[in-house]
């Protein structure tokens, strides 16, 4: 193999390398371009990558190197097949907007023959016999493959293993066969068939029932004198004409209006006709029954009214009342009652007035008595008004005199006090007032004695007590004087009130001119009251008599009204305006007439029954004809229709069943093939797997691996079992193994399977992830062994693995390509 790459992913400037049998180890730091080189091989072969899951590739072309001078990726790959033919592939790509869009033109040269475009792609598909996914699974060990193999869902894992084993197309075919869909379709058509057959059975049962009904109806017609074989619309029409004529006659006799019914022209008309006639007959019957009932009621009423009328006449004879004067008499009684009532009211008012006046006079009399008593008391104590005034004047004079005496006593007292003060400080022997000669010592002694005795002060106190007493007497007398005035005024008011009462009595029509005081007034009023009460009593008797008469007249009036009502009803029932005896003579003929009419109505009921029977026969005829039609429709339309439907479904079901059978057969044969191929492949594969596994430092207890197919819901899945060397213990790799142990198991599986792949080379991209040194040593030894028999490319940044691979270099003659750290110039070998 020779590879020449430029402008592809991390590789910018041209990178060329021959790979000729010996292992090639690509060493370099992360990002140096190892993976880009391995991807270049895949891209050149298939034009795409199996693993490009990131959505961002839709927005950015990540195939073409960003720094390439021409913005173009180009990979040349030269391969040799097992027949020694040389295959040269050149794939290019001009930088586009996204990785997933854009063209990757390819040219293929095989033994000098050059193909391009779709021709080249078709030839490549034929030659490689691999999809990119299969190539990636079977030739290219990388972390995604390890993940799918061990950690993924069992369906993904099984698909991955089938891709590795070359059985994936078979799995695809099995999984794409829609067995359930076709089965469902078959069941749907079977359901339709069942429905159609059920419908057919229903028709057949119905037909049987209708035929039985027809036979029964035919028997009924025979009994009614209509031979079933002759039953048709003509016979129906004849029966209609007869029944219709009878119906119209009955309507006329019962005076009932009915709607016009046309003779039926079609079977559908005929079906409706009996019901229409039945409704009209019912209308007539209702009318007839009502008329009959009324006649019977009138008969009973005539008998009852006749008896009542006779009784009424007898009663009138007994009362001897002239009905024509009854109203006038009642009016007179009512007028009299009104007049008497008015009088009674006047007397009652007079009594009320007198009663009020007598109470006022009595009160006034009592009050006057009290006032006169008080007047006597005052006069007895203080005398009359003149005496009181005289006494008051006298006391007032005394008070004035007393006041003067008090003033003089006061001045005298002051004079003694001033004299005493004077002679206290003066020894003059003359009086300062009258200039008479005095002995100062004697005067001083005399004045001091008077001061000590306080004669003036005591005299003033006595005078003031007299003054207080006088003032008290004045107040009492003045109060008595005022009371006398008040009482006199009241007496004057009473005299006026007496006059007013007299005037009121005069207004009531009573002469009270002789009355001079309350006593007389009271006596006069009481006398008048008594006279008025006597009048009222007489009036009451008159009113009672008038009311009794009025009630009597009203009772007679009511009886007369009832009698007249009976008379009026009798006149209505007999159809006359006669009265009394003449009216009575008309009752019996009328009763006879009503009885005759009622009997006639009862006879019409028999006619109605005959018409109803005729209608029933019409119904039987049309029912018979309808059943005949139904049988014809069932036999000529319904049953042939459903048989046609069943006939159409049968081949459809057959074809669908055939398709289902064919798909089921293909499915079973595919499963059988899958089982056979799996058995054949796995039978020899286990030896290779365990050979590889034993070299890669296996699990200390579970030292053997086994790939076990298991059928789950009609599909095969693979379980990876680990077993102890003695075969007694076993486990699933996923449940007990560490990450490194699972990676080792995956590498063993890959190597065992990949050695069988006819591609001629294997690619290992960073295979030592999560492995310890012992496993790396084992891996390096195994890779060197594999590389001895097969072209391998190993890319790693793991320095420990690099060291181990270098250790095997002498034995493997491997080509070690040490890549420089990446720059914008791209990948370069040291």
């Amino acid at each position: 193999m020779e590879i020449n790459v430029e402008g592809f992913r991390g590789i910018n400037e041209p990178f060329r390398r021959k790979i000729e049998g010996d292992p090639v180890f690509l060493f370099g730091d992360n990002g140096a371009g190892k993976t880009s080189l391995l991807q270049a091989i895949e891209w050149c072969m298939f034009g795409r990558f199996a693993y490009l899951p990131a959505e961002e590739y839709k927005y950015e072309d990540a195939i073409v190197n960003s720094f390439h001078h021409a913005g173009t990726a180009k990979v040349e790959l030269t391969l040799k097949d097992d027949r020694g033919r040389t295959l040269k592939l050149v794939r290019t790509r001009k930088k586009g907007k996204s990785t997933t869009a854009g063209k990757n033109p390819v040219t293929l040269t095989l033994d000098g023959k050059e193909l391009a475009g779709s021709d080249a792609e078709e030839e490549l598909t034929r030659l490689f016999e691999l999809t990119p996914e299969e190539y990636y699974a079977r030739t290219h060990l990388h972390q995604e493959a390890v993940r799918d193999l061990l950690y993924g869902e069992v369906a993904d894992r099984s698909a991955m293993i089938d891709k590795m084993l070359g059985l994936f197309r078979l799995r695809e075919l099995i999984e794409s066969l829609p067995i359930l869909t076709v089965d469902r379709e078959v069941k749907d058509i079977e359901g339709d068939m069942e429905d159609a057959n059920e419908e057919k059975r229903t028709y057949e049962r119905t037909l049987e029932h209708i035929k039985k009904d027809l036979q029964a109806l035919g028997e009924d017609l025979k009994k009614e004198g209509v031979p079933p074989e002759k039953a048709d619309l003509v016979i129906f029409g004849q029966r209609f004409t007869t029944a219709h004529q009878a119906l119209r006659e009955l309507a006329q006799l019962t005076e009932c209006k009915i709607r016009e019914i046309d003779a039926p022209k079609t079977t559908e008309d005929a079906k409706r006709t009996p019901d229409t006639m039945g409704k009209e007959l019912t209308k007539i019957e209702d009318k007839r029954t009502e008329a009959y009932g009324k006649m019977k009621t009138d008969l009973a009423e005539l008998t009852r009214l006749r008896d009542e009328y006779r009784n009424g006449l007898e009663e009138q004879d007994k009362l001897k009342v002239d009905p024509s004067r009854l109203t006038d008499e009642k009016a007179t009684v009512v007028a009299k009652l009104a007049e008497l009532g008015k009088k009674e009211k006047g007397l009652k008012n007079l009594n009320a007035e007198l009663n009020a006046e007598v109470r006022i006079a009595a009160r006034r009399r009592e009050e006057k008595k009290d006032i006169e008593s008080r007047l006597q008391e005052i006069k007895g104590k203080h005398g009359d008004k003149k005496a009181i005034q005289s006494t008051t004047k006298e006391i007032e004079d005394n008070i004035n005199k007393t006041n003067q005496s008090i003033d003089q006593m006061g001045l005298s007292s002051k004079l003694v006090s001033l004299g005493a003060q004077y002679f206290q400080t003066s020894d003059k022997d003359t009086c300062p007032i009258c200039e008479a000669s005095v002995s100062p010592t004697s005067v001083r002694a005399s004045l001091e004695k008077r001061l000590k005795e306080q004669k003036e002060a005591k005299a003033i106190e006595e005078l003031r007590a007299q003054l207080t007493k006088g003032e008290e007497q004045i107040r009492t007398l003045k109060a008595a004087d005022r009371t006398l005035d008040e009482l006199a005024a009241k007496l004057e008011g009473y005299a006026k009130e007496l006059n007013d009462s007299k005037k009121k009595l005069t207004a009531l029509g009573l002469d009270a001119s002789h009355v001079t005081d309350e006593q007389q007034l009271e006596s006069f009023i009481r006398l008048q009251e008594h006279a008025s009460e006597e009048q009222q009593s007489k009036l009451g008797e008159e009113i009672h008599e008038a009311e009794r008469r009025k009630i009597e007249l009203e009772s007679i009036e009511r009886k007369l009204s009832v009698f007249l009502d009976v008379e009026r009803k009798l006149q209505q029932l007999t159809g006359s305006h006669s009265k009394v005896q003449e009216l009575l003579t008309r009752i019996e003929p009328r009763k006879k007439e009503l009885e005759d009419n009622a009997n006639r109505m009862a006879e019409l009921g028999q006619k109605a029954t005959a018409i109803r029977e005729a209608i029933a026969l019409m119904k039987s005829i049309i029912g018979f004809l309808t059943k005949k039609d139904e049988i014809e429709k069932m036999e000529k339309i319904m049953l042939p229709g459903i048989l046609k439907k069943i006939g159409a479904l049968e081949p459809k079901l057959k074809k669908m069943q055939d398709l289902g059978t064919a798909i089921g057969d293909i499915h079973r044969a595919s499963i059988s093939t899958q089982e056979k191929l799996m058995g054949a492949t796995l039978g020899t594969l286990h030896k290779d797997i365990n050979k590889m596994y034993s070299r890669l430092v296996p699990h200390p207890h579970f030292g053997k691996l086994e790939l076990v197919p298991q059928e789950v819901r009609g599909k095969y899945v693979y379980r990876i079992l680990a077993k102890s060397k003695d075969g007694k213990d076993q486990t699933y790799v996923q449940t007990r193994f560490s990450l490194a142990q699972m990676n080792i198991a995956a590498i063993a599986l890959f190597l065992a399977i990949a050695r069988r792949v006819p591609m001629g080379f294997l690619v290992f991209d960073d295979p030592s992830q999560s492995l310890d040194l012992a496993h790396k040593k084992g891996l390096a030894d195994v890779l060197s062994e594999v590389g001895a028999g097969q072209q391998i490319l190993v890319a790693t940044q793991d320095e420990e693995l690099q060291k181990e691979l270098r250790r095997t270099k002498q034995r493997t003659k491997a080509q070690i390509v040490q890549l420089e750290s990446w720059t914008t110039s791209g990948t370069k070998a040291k």
Partner: protein
Amino acid sequence: MPRDAYEQITDEIEKRLARKKHANLLRVLVQVLKEDGTEGVKKEIKARVAEIKEE
């Protein structure tokens, strides 16, 4: 280069068919699988189902 894998599958399955007349359908389905993948197979059978239903 190996023989066409699809032909291999067809031959192996055909050998195991209960009725040989189903081989025609098998060949059609494998060809569709080869050209249009699993969705193509499903579509082919759905089309046949639809054709029968419409008859």
